[in-house]
Amino acid sequence: MTRETKSREPLVHISRRGAMPWWRAWLVRAGAIALALAVCALLCILVTGTNPLDIGRTVFEASFKTSRKFWVMLHSVAILLCISLAVTPAFRMRFWNVGGEGQALMGCLASAACMILLRDSLPNWAIIVCMVLASCLAGAIWGFLPAFFKANWNTNETLFTLMMNYIATQLVAFFCVVWENPRGSGQIGIINQRAPYTQLGWLPVVGGNKYLLNVIIVGVLCVLMFLYLSFSKHGFELSVVGESENTAHYLGIKVKRVIIRTMVLSGALCGLTGLLLTGGNDHTLTTTLVGGRGFTAVMVSWLAKFNPLWMILASFLLVFLERGAGDISTNFGLNASFSDILTGIILFFIIGSEFFITYRVSFRRHGGHRKEAIAK
């Protein structure tokens, strides 16, 4: 049956694009970043009255002014990248693991537990071996649980992994009180800072630079993850599961096993990030140690289209801008929230640009009504 209706053509029409050539996509992204910076600069000028070149220099200097700033920046990139790498295999499988925060925090907790509980009984190297195993295991368990429920009863993995974050945070809060120092303070401070436990369980310093080891480890992980996803049978299987579970069944892929295996890997890598934080850099345990990077990692992974090599660039960009925004706030005497506003603007534009890459926006050409046939 057909019937004729009068309908008004919408002013804005959004349709899905075909594939955009890669160079055009990157042009759009670069344009978005430029636009974001322009808006930020405009805002800074309006608020502080400084000239935009000063602001640009501040942003650049926040990461490059001294070798320390450079290394701290590089280290932040490494940590963010590590969690992003960790959540990526799950994302490729279309398993929305937003529990990177909790999985990493469990790694921190496990490392701290080894540093505190084993320091009287084991030599330093054995403590570190235990820390590596324990942190990966702790993260893996936090990844396994939601995967197990998803694989067997098709529970919602987004909610499940999200809730696991809160459990991890509360567990850490609990152990902060158990191991507090001094009593009553609810804080642990630097673990094994003083004699007789001086630096027990601290990852070794390589080449006289305390940030270098973590950067190297994450660099190697990044390459391995790229190889794993692009060239291994596992990598192929999890992509197929992500595309269509039916196809996977048809190909003889054991879907349940792939889901659980991938999430265990994802969680273990997050746990390893916890080791790098607690054992390698901060040497402490607090509920805010991961600092939201478990969530930022989701964005890094998406922005890089789940490609580990592009993630280096995406993490660098986010860290660079965040440090820049932070220094703008301090140097121009603004509230810390101001840097959040700037980061927010930048992220808004970057995420927004992905919309314009995927969809085409067209406007109504001629203002009149038109007749439309709707087949029912």
Binding site: K65, S185, Q193, D282
Partner: protein, 396 residues
């Protein structure tokens, strides 16, 4: 690409070498002095705001350059920030939060040419680092005074028939069950009881130094529990706002909250950090040693009371406070006089406190001297952690 990175690194190294020319113990011309400040939160926290105001006041008075870093976490972030400030040419670096301590020590070890000063810390006197220092103030005296004002308010409420003498239960929202907090609420309570002998107190902990929602909730819980006056040791506006809404008198901390709570705010005690900051900067200018462990007092103007809010306070509060303050100054009033409180029904005659914080949790110092618990005497940070009779800690 490699060349650019190499060039950048080389440039960065040169810059950092130029920056690090300062030296401890040598006078520094005023125009070359730069002070770095590290704050846990920003000005939205009453605790940090108190420090920030003092920092600006001291630096502007002495005419030295300064850098304020806000929102610095109690983790590696603190070390990184301190190290960056040191490389940026700061001669002295100050951090305001207890959790910053181990990271400040780490930085102090690495930059022996820079002075590191830390408020509320406990480890300077045992750490033996020439360039690491702690500071605090005998704020328990300020709390005691604020307690006297609260006690007078209770007496007025009894006289007006609003409550009976048996209903003089007050509430306290604490952060952690930590010596600094215990010392704070105990001295406050002793102040109240010095004028209103029937008073009892309930304490609830938020287990956070800054959590507006939890502090509000804590105050509300105490009010529902029948507490007729609230005070707090937590850094947000949570408790004062809850009191203003419920119309319950509030004794504040860290500074006056009269603007937000015109009907319920009585008085606030606070540590004025400006005298210490001036002392610390002046020592750097003169090339003198900074004390390992500095305790500010009422005399140094480090312990202050805000203006009394006449709208909420009892009549005659100002005069009474002057009288008690004079007593504290001449030594006739002692806050922790062991004859004024009991523990398990007994008066304390001897008490070992964990003054030397070696990470061993072993109390080692006898702190009862001549019938007084000698608070902030063996080190600046409080170590009074006794649970006295009359105060009930609520389970959460």
């Amino acid at each position: 690409m490699k060349k650019i990175v190499a060039l950048l690194l080389a440039l960065a190294m040169c810059l950092s070498c130029v920056a690090a020319f300062a030296q401890v113990g040598v006078p520094v011309a005023k125009e070359n002095v730069k002070v770095g400040f590290i704050f846990l939160h920003d000005e939205n926290s009453t605790y940090d705001l108190n420090f920030m105001n003092a920092a600006k006041e001291a630096c502007e008075k002495l005419g030295v350059a300064y850098v304020l870093k806000t929102g610095v976490d109690e983790g590696q972030d603190c070390y990184d920030t301190a190290a960056e400030l040191a490389e940026d040419g700061c001669n002295v670096i100050f951090a305001d939060s207890f959790g910053h301590e181990s990271y400040m020590i780490q930085a102090a070890m690495e930059f022996p040419e820079v002075e590191f000063c830390h408020a509320t810390g406990t480890r300077a006197h045992t750490e033996n680092l020439p360039n690491y220092h702690n500071a605090f103030a005998s704020i328990y005296e300020g709390r005691y005074l604020a307690g006297v004002a609260a006690g007078l308010k209770l007496n007025e409420m009894i006289a007006e028939g609003k409550i009976t003498a048996e209903q003089t239960k007050i509430g306290y929202v604490g952060a952690f069950p930590y010596a600094e907090v215990k010392s704070g609420y105990t001295s406050f309570f002793l102040g109240v009881r010095s004028v209103c002998p029937t008073v009892t107190m309930e304490v609830t902990f938020t287990n956070s130094w800054y959590d507006e929602a939890l502090e509000k909730e804590g105050a509300q819980k105490l009010i529902n529990d029948g507490c007729v006056l609230i005070s707090q040791h937590a850094d947000s506006m949570g408790a004062p706002t809850a009191c203003e809404v419920a119309g319950v008198p509030n004794v504040s901390y860290n500074g006056s909250t009269v603007a937000a709570c015109p009907n319920t705010f009585i008085v606030s005690s606070r540590i004025n950090w400006a005298p210490y900051m001036e002392y610390m900067i002046q020592a750097v200018i003169n090339g003198e040693e900074i004390a390992k462990d500095w305790t500010g007092t009422i005399e140094t103007d480090s312990v202050q009371l805000s203006e009394v809010n006449e709208a909420a306070a009892a009549e005659g509060t100002v005069a009474k406070l002057e009288e008690v303050k004079a007593g504290l100054l001449d030594g006739s009033v002692k806050v922790y006089d062991v004859s004024t409180f009991t523990v398990g029904g007994q008066n304390l005659t001897s008490y070992l406190a964990d003054v030397d914080d070696m990470g061993d949790f072993q109390p080692e110092t006898e702190v009862i001297l001549d019938g007084v618990f000698a608070e902030s005497y063996f080190r600046s940070a409080p170590y009074f952690d006794v649970d006295i009779d009359g105060i009930t800690v609520l389970g959460n």
